[in-house]
Amino acid sequence: MDATVKTHLIAQEPKAPAKPLVLWRPTATTGLISWLTTVDHKRIGFLYGVFALFFFLVGGVEALLIRAQLMFPNNNVLTAQQYNTMFTMHGTTMIFLAVMPLSSAFFNFIMPLQIGARDVAFPRLNAFSLWTFVAGAIVINIGWFHPGGAPDGGWFGYAPLTSKQFIPRHSIDFWVMGLQLLGVASIAAALNFIVTIINMRAPGMTMMRLPVFTWMTLITSFLIILSFPAITIALVELMMDRQFGTNFFEVSNGGMPILWQHLFWVFGHPEVYILILPAMGIVSEILPTFSRKPLFGYPIVVFSGACIGFLGFAVWSHHMFTTGMGTVATAAFALATMAIAVPTGVKIFNWIGTLWGGHLRMRTPMMFALGFVWMFMIGGFSGVMHAAAPADSQQQDSYFVIAHFHYVLIGGSLFALLAGIHYWFPLMFGRKVSEFWGKLSFWVIFIGFNVTFFPMHFLGLNGMPRRTFTYDGNMGWNTPNFIASIGAFTLGIGIAIYFAVMIYTYFKGEKVGRDPWDGRTLEWSISSPPPAYNFAVTPTVHARDAFWYEKHHKEEIAKENAEHAKAEREHGGIHMPHQSIYPFIASVGMLIGALASSALDSNAGQHKLAFAITGGVIMLVGIFLWSLEGADGYHLHLDKDGKIVEDPHAKH
């Protein structure tokens, strides 16, 4: 692209003043309204993070209750139904309400900074994703406060158990509608990220100069837009069965429950990579930074990420090796699954290659990142064991599988996300976590995690099935279960320390300036916490580790930036998007609609249809006003120190 040709289009400044059709253009910068109407990717990322960490704690409490029940044989802490609710909600919460939004928090906060953008491509759509995510989280959890109860059909919701015949309670409706909203939120956010990464890179930021985390964001986003439709349609079909009496999974009319499994896992397996790829991206940022050398084999790491994403769509049936698919299908999916081990292994090799010859600084983020490599390796190896279908027929739905995916999801995803919080905390809040407390929390979490999940390998091989609320004392399962529970409480303490330290640091932590880790990517080039406009001057990228290059070519960059700053001033200054309330209103409409259709019962004289239509109308009004108010914004002008010299809202 050659922007010089297009300057005539940009030179149409000043823009038309605020349009008469617009009812309200919020300008608050503090207070509740500012948060509800924000379109700033950093604030949205922060909110994603806060909600995700809250639900992470909720899911953690559910996990501890599960472990309390299983601590002893024939134990009696929870009833069968409570236990089934706990594991359903633990899975659903951790996947959809904790790990995914926590990744999303980093996508939002970090990715635009890494590509040198001032915001995402569609700031208001971004706000809509956030609030729709919150709406979905509310619907899924509303069952705790409703006589229908919280969902208890398993996070996988296999038909026909989830049909009205077997679970007539509203619990499944909450799960269905909640996941639908989360699907909408995820797809909208992913579309936004795709456009942002492809279209909003700073000059010189070619695709092969993108930081690996941004690459993984892009791949994850593609996985989301291509895999979520499958579960959305599956949920629509289940919803129609439950609400309108259709026959998708109705066995007596010829419905095939196996279809649900296929649709669910066509989504479910890419979902696994949606959870792990961002984590791999974070680790691929942290290891080079703290080794003080570039990522080993960048093109191969990127390519293997894409490869994992692509192959991820071809292996879903390895979750169904026990469903009697026949020999050929089983063999094909087994081989495809093994093939995925290659790009995954390649990443591990490259991370070790990154360490090799570096100057490793053992800061807390580095500890978590190394913990990730170790734990992910173990989880990956037990994954290869599942790929061997005959072995899997013994391991499927046993505690061996639980051990495997917790090594991948806690030891993998979560360790990397916790590393990411430590790593980017100074950038986000301008404060740094104490190394002592950070490392202490790491070791408690690391030990607690291993003590919890390593014994589960033995449990699984010794025949203990998953999702069982009780077991007898004569099965040889007592000791591993007891150890696992002790480990779980240790892990809980570790997480508690981690959170306490983070909260303390947020308010009272040691203040740090720009770039405390000697970072390599563009996000470290701005002051912390980052200003609303991110970059005083849109950076120009000359190399893969853009900021590292800047630091070693200071004069050249300073000269270039000065020129660009001048040009930008001449063309009207920094463009900022307006805040908007309409995305929030549209999400509220969806929340009302989803609550009405899941929690109300038209037979019981409740006005289900009326409330559902009200929700729909609110949503439509929100969307119409959203499009009518337009995507325009205002301009900022900065002085030499980066201070805003004009009141941004005075102009219009």
Binding site: A80, F166, T323, A389, P390
Partner: protein, 422 residues
């Protein structure tokens, strides 16, 4: 005959307790819960390691292959990672502020070499995997003739077994519940059917699981090399009481198996009243009533020689009280039990969707492999099925719908009657 046996625990615990400081701390903690440290041997009743048939054996071999290959890679990679971590660690402040190392970007040769090596390692796993897939799928051609056919059906939350080859006049094929008796040394081909939701048929020591899915014809095959008593369990979440949906497989030598078939195909046993008025007077036993939820329903002694105990169960009990049995039989009708449960020769009103009780007394478990079948546990089950197995149909569709209330005397009589059904 090789049955699973519980190892002599106390001796091993002592020898293992010395293994290290950490182990001591943990063992001190675990003594509180009566733990043992044999779990790493993984030889429990549902072990996938301590296998007893060719299918499970083949699956185990594939597993071992994956273990050795991945363990080798793990050791190599972990060694390099450990070395790199320590070798290149910044040890001092000076180290940290030294000039940054060479900014190298990778080495294509090393990377391609490693990719090639991983592909090779996977081929080592893939070959036995493929062989295992075909072997475990169906009975081998050479043994097809000899295979014994059974159909297993999964209901919420129990198993029903149909013996397709054993026809009973005027009734149809032989059916049993929750205890599958098979001939040892012969391949058994089991057709799997899900009757309401998805269940999964899993007897770890004999074969990996295959799901029982509604509207889908699945099957598996297994073979018990020797006679034995095997624990099985539903392995797909199927609702409230999934955890207590269990079953047993009993493998018998050919002659014993035929004897068993003969006994099962005959109608339910009728207890004859014995002469002498005093003996026939109904003597009510008193049973424990203070069961806690999820309290263990088995006797540790049973596990020491389960197959022998199962065999004992095939014979009528010595101290039967004919009058009590007769009273129980009346109650079985009066309390509408017969409208669901078949007792061939006594009551025919039942349906296939509920367990057949014709030879109930010869089974070793009650409530789908959950409780041991003895008077005490049976009384516990009858008194309050929902406490034992939440949401079960005997409670929701039987006791609740038909407003059934049982006194302790009723329970005593029903227990006597049911236990007499050998």
């Amino acid at each position: 005959m090789r049955l699973f046996s519980l190892p002599p625990r106390s001796a091993r615990r002592a020898s293992f307790g010395l293994a290290g400081r950490f182990a001591l701390v943990v063992s001190a903690l675990s003594l509180l819960s009566g733990c043992d440290f044999n779990f790493w041997r993984m030889d429990g009743p549902q072990s996938t390691i301590d296998v007893a048939g060719p299918v499970a054996h083949s699956q185990l071999q594939v597993f071992y292959t994956t273990v050795w290959v991945t363990l080798t890679i793990f050791v190599l990679v972990a060694a390099v990672l450990t070395y790199a971590t320590f070798k290149f660690r910044a040890r001092s402040d000076a180290d940290e502020h030294a000039e940054p190392p060479e900014q190298s970007h990778g080495n294509p040769l090393v990377e391609l070499g490693l990719i090639g090596a991983s592909v090779l390692a996977l081929v080592i796993i893939a070959v036995p995997t493929l062989r295992g897939i075909w072997f475990t799928y169906d009975v081998p051609e050479a043994e097809k003739e000899n295979a014994y056919h059974v159909t297993a059906q999964g209901y919420q939350w129990w198993f029903r077994f149909e013996y397709n080859n054993e026809q009973i006049e005027n009734v149809g094929q032989l059916t049993t519940s929750n205890e599958l008796v098979i001939p040892a040394g012969r391949p058994v081909r089991i057709d799997l059917r899900g009757m309401d939701v998805i269940h999964s048929f899993w007897v770890p020591r004999l074969a990996g699981k295959v799901d029982m899915i509604p509207n889908r014809a699945n099957h598996l095959w297994l073979k018990a090399d020797e006679p034995g008593y095997f624990w099985g369990q539903c392995a797909e979440y199927c609702g409230d009481s999934h955890a207590v949906m269990r079953f047993r497989v009993i493998a018998l030598a050919p002659r014993e198996f035929n004897e068993w078939l003969e006994q099962q195909t005959s109608a339910a046993r009728a207890v004859q009243a014995v002469a002498g008025a005093e003996q026939t007077k109904a003597q009510f036993a008193s049973y424990r009533t203070d069961w806690k939820r999820n309290e263990a329903g088995y006797d540790p002694n049973f596990d020491l020689n389960p197959l022998e105990n199962w065999k004992q169960k095939q014979f009528p009990e010595k101290n039967e009280n004919p009058a009590l049995v007769a009273k129980g039989r009346e109650l079985f009708q009066a309390k509408t039990c017969f409208s669901c449960h078949v007792v061939r020769g006594h009551f025919v009103g039942g349906s296939a969707a509920y367990p057949d009780l014709t030879h109930f007394g010869s089974r070793t478990t009650v409530g789908a492999g959950l409780l041991e079948n003895n008077s005490e546990q049976l009384a516990r089950w009858l008194r309050h099925p929902n406490e034992v197995k939440p949401g079960n149909k005997m409670w929701t569709e039987g006791y609740q719908k038909n407003n059934i209330h049982l006194t302790e005397d009723d329970i005593g009589a029903l227990v006597a009657y049911l236990e007499s059904l050998k």
